[in-house]
């Protein structure tokens, strides 16, 4: 008997629980040489904003122990180009496309974006990226931050929507009103209490939460005394953050009913299983795509093997099955 890998996220039924994480999979096409994109559970596209964004100055990435920092700054062509140029390409993959969206400051932009994308049948679901650590906007003039030439002095104030339960609730609710598509809210690990934020997203009407986005981090080259990333602080991803991510998935799983999409340092089948066992209904692969563009396929096969070996009929039986 073939084990059942299908999972449900809101209205979506995925053929398997392995998705490509936003910002780490380009617009799919970059991976077509290595991967039959059709094997994926879903693709989450690079976060798109209303207007095009240049992104941040260089250097934008560096390596850290078992991890990496990035401060891309949500470089993207804007929603118009996304719809005209990127969606048709993404669609060819033949799997559900989850469009990740963010505002550049005014939360209303989420609503505008959601309305626009709600009309696109190629978009299977929306992911609200309220947690990108590389754009901090709340409470400050948008113009000072949206540009690519933001000076260091402006960078580090403001909180993310995902750092405030109330703001999270309000934003999710506002978007919920304008779309019937499946809504996923992507949360930040840079919080005191992930549960309260996950609950706020649930209460606001989110169909699922995705966690985690990157941890805020910083690295300095002691020789030059310069930060290794131009924007000084950046988002930490990769295996280094996995224990934090698994813990947050487990904490949230106990307190919310909507499905969790787990991610953070998944490198192989065993680490994907850690998340599922902790309570993730599905997983996203981020940084690992850079190292092994075929990793998603390997994990899908690995999950299948795991179910067979352990004589488990469906991956859903594994979700949250940690033995405490």
């Amino acid at each position: 008997m073939q084990p059942n890998l299908t999972v449900r996220i809101g209205k979506l039924k995925l053929r398997n629980p392995v998705m490509a994480a936003s910002g780490t999979f380009g617009y799919g096409e970059e991976f077509a040489d290595w991967l039959d994109l059709g094997c994926l559970g879903a693709i989450v596209s690079k976060t798109v904003t209303l207007k095009p964004r240049m992104g941040n100055p260089m250097p934008r990435t560096c390596e850290t122990p078992a991890g990496m920092l990035n401060s891309i700054g949500l470089e993207n062509p804007g929603v118009d180009k996304f719809i005209s140029d990127k969606l048709p390409v993404l669609k060819k993959a033949g799997v559900p496309i989850i469009a990740s969206i963010a505002s550049e400051g005014d939360p209303d932009e989420f609503v505008v974006l959601a309305k626009r994308l709600d009309k696109m049948k190629e978009v299977a679901a929306l992911e609200l990226n309220i947690s990108c650590p590389n754009v901090r906007l709340a409470g400050k003039p948008v113009s000072r931050l949206a540009g690519s030439t933001g000076t260091p002095a402006h960078r580090h104030t403001g909180t993310l929507i995902a750092q405030d339960p109330k703001a999270t609730y309000q934003l999710v609710r506002a978007v919920r009103r304008v779309t019937r598509k499946t809504l996923i809210t992507k949360l930040s690990p840079n919080v005191t209490d992930i549960v309260s934020i996950a609950q706020a997203a649930e209460a606001g009407g989110s169909d699922a939460v995705a966690l985690i986005n990157t941890l805020s981090g910083m690295s300095i080259d002691a020789e030059t005394r310069k930060p290794r990333i131009a924007m000084v602080t950046a988002g930490l991803s990769g295996p280094a953050i996995r224990p934090v991510a698994v813990r947050m998935v487990w904490e949230a799983y106990q307190k919310i009913k909507i499905p969790i999409i787990g991610m953070g340092g998944i490198m192989d089948t065993l680490s994907a299983l850690e998340f599922i066992i902790a309570g993730a209904a599905a997983v996203s692969i981020g940084t690992a795509n850079f190292i092994n563009p075929r990793v998603s396929r390997e994990i899908i096969n690995g999950l299948k093997e795991y179910l067979k070996t352990n004589k488990i009929a469906s991956i859903r039986q594994v979700v949250g099955s940690v033995r405490i």
Binding site: N70, P77, G78, K81, P239, F290, P293
Partner: protein, 282 residues
Amino acid sequence: MDQMRLTVLYNKQLKSGFFLLALEAPQMARKAAPGQFLNIRITDGVEPLLRRPLSIHRVTGKNIELLYQVVGQGTLLLAQKQAGDKLDIIGPLGKGFDYLKPITYNLKPILIAGGMGVAPLVFLAESISRLKPKTRNLKPIVLIGAKTKSQILCRREFIKAGCTVKIATDDGSRGFKGYVSELLTNLLLTIDQRPLTIYACGPHPMLREVARIAAQRGIPAQVSLEAHMACGIGACLGCAVKVKGQGSRDRGQGKDQKGDFEYKRVCKEGPVFAAREILWEE
């Protein structure tokens, strides 16, 4: 582009800290173009986590040679690989030098290498040489810049490929004493052949200087850039370089002191760019 486990044929130290590694890579060898690079997974583990990009140094039949300097953990581990070891490799990646058109237009090639910049230029010189430019006039002049005598690499390979080689060392221990860009200025003062074209690879300040000189004299120049690469395949947008704004609306555009610009990906639209495209900064 492929992802493969390739066999190391040899991995030998040429000079202290400089290694030549050959891979059996028939498929990639066939596709490779000068200026392109391979992205190498050094370990199955997480240390280092990311792949390491190295230029294709030479293609010899079914084999690809890489020339690298040990500068950190990744290259140190790479230097420990032995014949028979397997390496997980992605490539060939990126956009290489455009050398066919310039030859057709009878532009005499000047190749300028700073430090490890020799690595891709040997492949370029050999590719040009394979075109058998009829006139001796179109055989490349190569300017090699190195810190000191002992770090001059590939002189012989360039000569074998029919090039004229000139050398500059920072300390004057061999050839011209000074920067290779100064050597270029001198050369341009004396050389009477025209038209010329420039291919350069090396540290950023050198490339900026070469671009400035080339622009001044109206010589078309191509430069191979470096950037920290997380993915090497165009997915992460980590390796951006500022190019002059061309009204493209594909990504956002910005303004800075020097005017309109946009970002391109060094790993995908590069690593080779037309020098005049780049928005050179300090």
